[in-house]
């Protein structure tokens, strides 16, 4: 079973959806996000025994990640708050009193806010044996083959 074969795509449409924002904006097209503001990027691997989904979710609090398996779809949801340096966090907390530690933002490119990503699963994967692990900002989801 090969992913390159056009006739059998175990994960269905896996087109990358994120970060086209700038392209779209340049074309004068304003996208519409009803709820989630961004979509994390995904790598997808296949080994002898399993499919491996790797989701780029750096800086996301592990407890805020929600994985849902429904029908043939794997949905990853969650939210990422704007990443702040520890000193800034302090400043945030005591902003009123200490204006010298206040920070100014010059760039903010990292996606934040609520996100959702859906990955289609091949037919007949044992849904109960899917496992997930969060390491170094990456969420690894292992889907064993039969």
């Amino acid at each position: 079973m090969s992913l390159t074969a056009a006739t059998e795509q175990p994960f269905g449409k896996i087109a990358r959806q994120a970060n086209k924002l700038m392209d779209q904006l340049q074309k004068g097209y304003y996208n519409f996000y009803p709820g989630e503001a961004w979509t994390p990027n995904v790598n997808l691997y296949e080994t002898e025994t399993a499919y491996l989904v790797c989701v780029d979710l750096s800086g996301v609090d592990k407890s805020k990640i929600d994985i849902e398996v429904r029908n043939a779809g794997l949905t990853i949801r969650g939210a990422r708050s704007v990443p702040l340096h520890e000193s800034a966090s302090d400043a945030e907390a005591g902003r009123e009193g200490d204006s010298s530690r206040k920070i100014r933002v010059h760039l903010m490119e990292i996606d934040h806010g609520a996100f959702a990503r859906e990955v289609e699963l091949p037919q007949g994967v044992p849904q109960d044996r899917i496992t997930a692990a969060y390491r170094n900002g990456l969420l690894w989801i292992e889907i064993p083959k039969n």
Partner: protein
């Protein structure tokens, strides 16, 4: 279900739920307000905003980092730098800032995500940036079939717009179709519509989703119209480009293929080159060559598939095939020419002499212009074959152009090249076929040219037949002059009456009269019998025609000026001989009178004079028709009436007048002729000329009509062997007539013994064949009294005026 739902309102904040997964967001009731210009943010959409004003920067510094919510309000007037409450539209959108970029020009750009509509109640502070008290607004949505229909129609319109807009990213359609909520759909479309800021703000402020959708539908409809028009124009343009590109591509391929095949490289150029070589070889005059060069250049520039290409190519081909410089050499050997003419034609001495003269002139002055002869004579006398003999005698090519029935000027002079399928006229076409510029060209049956609204071919012929003009004869198709002066034109006609004067004037008319019986006998012996034997596969040894047999055919089976029927009857006899020989009945046949009678049946023509003219009131006239002379019976009868006159027998105006003149003459001379005036006054007269189906005209029957009337009223029959011709005047004079030879020939054929001829026609006597002179008695008369003296005979002496009454 609205996309954003208010869950809870408190003194300080409003909690809303957004998105499919029900994420909760808390909106404080006092928000930092970011004024924006020329853009309207809608809930749910992601939009870039430029941040340049100091107050806006201060606002950003305050709210960032973090996920603070700001309120975005559009300014009423884009030019106000520091907007106060009245300068802002009261309805704005609460947003979160997603991203922040630095632009190359040092300005900052933020990307905001709209969350919910709010109404700006008041501004709480204006320094260092504005904050305002807000009230979160909620859509009103009444679900129902009309809303569903509206949503479906808007979605369809929007899909079409996306399809037609070249710049819209692919996922737009995907997003569009994934939005199920009507309010969200409206906001998404409102943000992406091409509309004025004012219009968009109105859409933002409209809380009734259905109304908002209607506004959007209207905008979409206009946009769709524009786009569809654009797309139509574009596809048309594209189609044109595709076509010409395709043609170019194929032509290039064709060139490459030609090159591979070893043909000349320059595409259609090879054909142009061939034409050019041909044209140069034809050696046309300079004027023509110039025109041809111009057309050649045009031809090179036109793709060979164009219809114009074919037109020009045909034109150049015709130009190159015309005999501009090709000439046959005249062989001018007078004795030999005479021999050829004598071989082919019996007698016709006058004609042959004229041709010999023409040749002699050509010998002395080779560059002289062409002569234009016109042979006039009845059918079957050999006019056409004479033309052939002339061509042979001179060693020229012979072309025959039949003009009978031609009624379109274009037949002579061609069509202009503007017309599809235009062709040169017959003159040029025949010259091209002949391939020489000095043929003998026979214009056959020139008297049968027609004329109608399309033009008058006779007038077109004027140019052709004028030796002073025809060296620059210009065919409409060629549009360049062609020299016809080397052509020898020979026209033929049965009668000159229908040939227009100017045309007649240009030709030298040579009359070929009908043949006498002895001529016919000679012709039959020398030409017709050998020809018919040959045609029927009988050798001269197998059949022999005796002279009495031929004379019998001539007298009993034909009555014509020419020899066409004679030949046909000889042919019939020959076929019968062929049947006999093949049937084995005999192998050598001698044709005598009995055999002729057996084959051809009873004789067809009988002398009918005696029976016809044995009663008073019938006279025999002589007429001249295009097919030779004829005898003509004039019948007159009388019945009680009031002195009126009736004329019948298809007679023309001139003949009618002639009859009236005859009648008046009779009445004026009644006394001297011994006619009872009372009888005249109490009688109606009817004059009829039999063979009522044949039109007759002309004044020459005047004498005959006078004689018939006199005979009737004097009750004395006309001598049955007398025929007469001549025009009468009211003074009783007899005027001369034309065609005497034909008339007397006809009289002889009909078995007449005496003819009454006007005195002034005596000069024509030398033209009358001896054969006729010897068998007819000619009475030359000056007045009608002389006529009556001959026609009614000696009995005129009896002058008893009322004896018949």
């Amino acid at each position: 279900m609205a996309e954003s739902q208010i869950i809870e309102r408190t003194e300080t904040a409003t909690t809303i739920r957004t998105g499919g997964n029900g994420q909760r967001t808390v909106l404080p009731n006092i928000l930092p307000i970011l004024p924006i210009r020329n853009i309207v943010v809608f809930p749910g959409t992601v939009m870039p905003l430029n941040v340049g004003r100091p107050k806006s920067k201060a606002l950003l510094d305050e709210v960032m980092p973090g996920e603070k919510i700001i309120g975005v309000c559009t300014q009423k007037n884009a030019e106000v730098e520091d907007p106060q409450y009245p300068d802002l539209h009261a309805v704005g959108v609460a947003c979160v800032i997603l991203k922040l970029f630095k632009l190359p020009d040092g300005n900052q750009s933020i990307i905001v995500h709209g969350l919910a509509r709010f109404r700006l109640l008041s501004l709480e502070q204006t320094e260092p940036f504005a904050t305002g008290r807000i009230e979160v607004l909620e859509d009103t949505l009444v679900p129902g079939p009309s809303l569903d229909a509206l949503v479906a129609s808007v979605r369809q319109q929007a899909n079409r717009v996306i399809e037609l807009s070249p710049n819209t990213p692919d996922e737009a359609q995907q997003v569009l179709n994934s939005i199920t909520n009507p309010s969200a759909l409206a906001d998404f479309l409102a943000a992406n519509l091409q509309a004025d800021t004012i219009d968009k703000q109105q859409m933002l402020e409209e809380l009734d989703v259905e109304k908002r959708l209607r506004m959007i539908a209207a905008k979409l409809a206009t946009q769709l119209d524009v786009l569809e028009l654009q797309s139509k124009i574009q596809s048309q343009v594209k189609e044109n480009i595709d076509k010409s590109q395709r043609r170019y591509y194929l032509q290039e391929q064709l060139k490459a293929i030609r090159k591979e095949l070893g043909e000349t490289e320059a595409g259609g150029g090879s054909e142009v080159d061939v034409l050019r070589t041909k044209l140069e070889a034809a050696k046309p005059p300079e004027v023509v060559m110039k025109e041809a060069q111009r057309e050649l250049v045009r031809l090179e520039g036109i793709p060979s598939a164009s219809p114009e290409y074919g037109v020009i190519r045909t034109y150049l081909q015709i130009l190159s095939e015309l005999p501009w410089a090709v000439e046959t050499t005249d062989k001018i050997d007078l004795p030999e020419a005479r021999a050829v003419l004598d071989r082919d034609h019996h007698d016709l001495d006058k004609v042959k002499r004229r041709i010999i003269e023409y040749l002699a002139v050509r010998k002395l002055k080779p560059e002289g212009g062409g002569a234009i002869l016109c042979f006039v004579g009845p059918p079957g006398v050999g006019k056409t074959s004479l033309g052939k003999s002339i061509a042979e005698a001179m060693g020229r090519k012979f072309i025959r152009v039949a003009l009978g029935g031609v009624r379109d000027e274009a037949d002579i002079r061609g069509h202009r090249r503007t017309y599809i399928g235009s062709m040169p006229g017959r003159i040029i076409a025949e010259l091209r076929k002949a391939g020489t510029r000095n043929p003998v060209m026979m214009l056959d049956e020139i008297d049968k040219l027609g004329a109608d609204f399309r033009g008058d071919p006779a007038s077109a012929l004027l140019e052709v037949l004028d030796p002073a003009q025809n060296h620059t004869f210009t065919d409409h198709y060629l549009d360049v002059p062609f020299d016809l002066s080397k052509v020898m034109f020979i026209a033929t006609a049965n009668t000159m009456d229908t040939v227009p004067g100017p045309l007649r004037d240009r030709m030298e008319v040579i009359e070929i009269p009908g043949y006498t019986e002895s001529d016919k006998l000679n012709i039959a012996r020398r030409y017709l019998v050998p020809r018919q034997l040959e045609a029927n596969g009988i050798s001269p040894k197998q059949a022999k025609f005796l002279d009495p047999a031929l004379r019998w055919i001539i007298e009993g089976y034909t009555r014509e000026a020419g020899v066409r029927n004679l030949e046909r009857n000889i042919g019939a006899v020959c076929r019968a001989i062929a049947a006999d020989i093949v049937g084995g009945n005999s192998d050598k046949v001698t044709v005598d009178r009995e055999r002729v009678s057996k084959v051809l049946g009873p004789r067809r023509f009988e002398p009918e004079l005696a029976s016809r003219t044995s009663v008073p009131g019938v006279a025999t006239g002589l007429a001249y028709t295009p097919v030779g002379g004829e005898i003509l019976f004039i019948e007159a009868t009388r019945f009680p009436g009031k002195g009126a006159i009736t004329l019948t027998g298809q007679i023309g105006d001139v003949m009618k007048e002639s009859a009236t003149a005859a009648f008046s003459l009779i009445r004026s001379r009644a006394e001297s002729l011994g006619i009872n005036a009372k009888l005249l006054a109490e009688s109606d007269i009817h004059i009829h000329i039999p063979a009522g189906a044949i039109p007759k005209d002309g004044p020459s029957a005047g004498v005959a009509m006078f004689t018939a009337l006199a005979s009737l009223l004097m009750n004395r029959p006309v001598r049955h062997d007398v025929a007469m011709t001549g025009e009468i005047t009211l003074r009783g004079l007899v005027l001369p007539i034309g065609g005497l030879k034909e008339k007397t020939l006809a009289a002889k054929r009909a078995g007449i013994k005496q003819v009454i001829v006007p005195k002034r026609n005596e000069k024509d006597l030398p033209d009358i064949p001896d054969e006729v002179k010897s068998s007819l008695k000619f009475n030359f008369v000056e007045t009608v009294d002389d006529v009556l003296a001959v026609a009614l005979g000696a009995a005129r002496k009896s002058k008893a005026p009322s004896q018949h009454n």
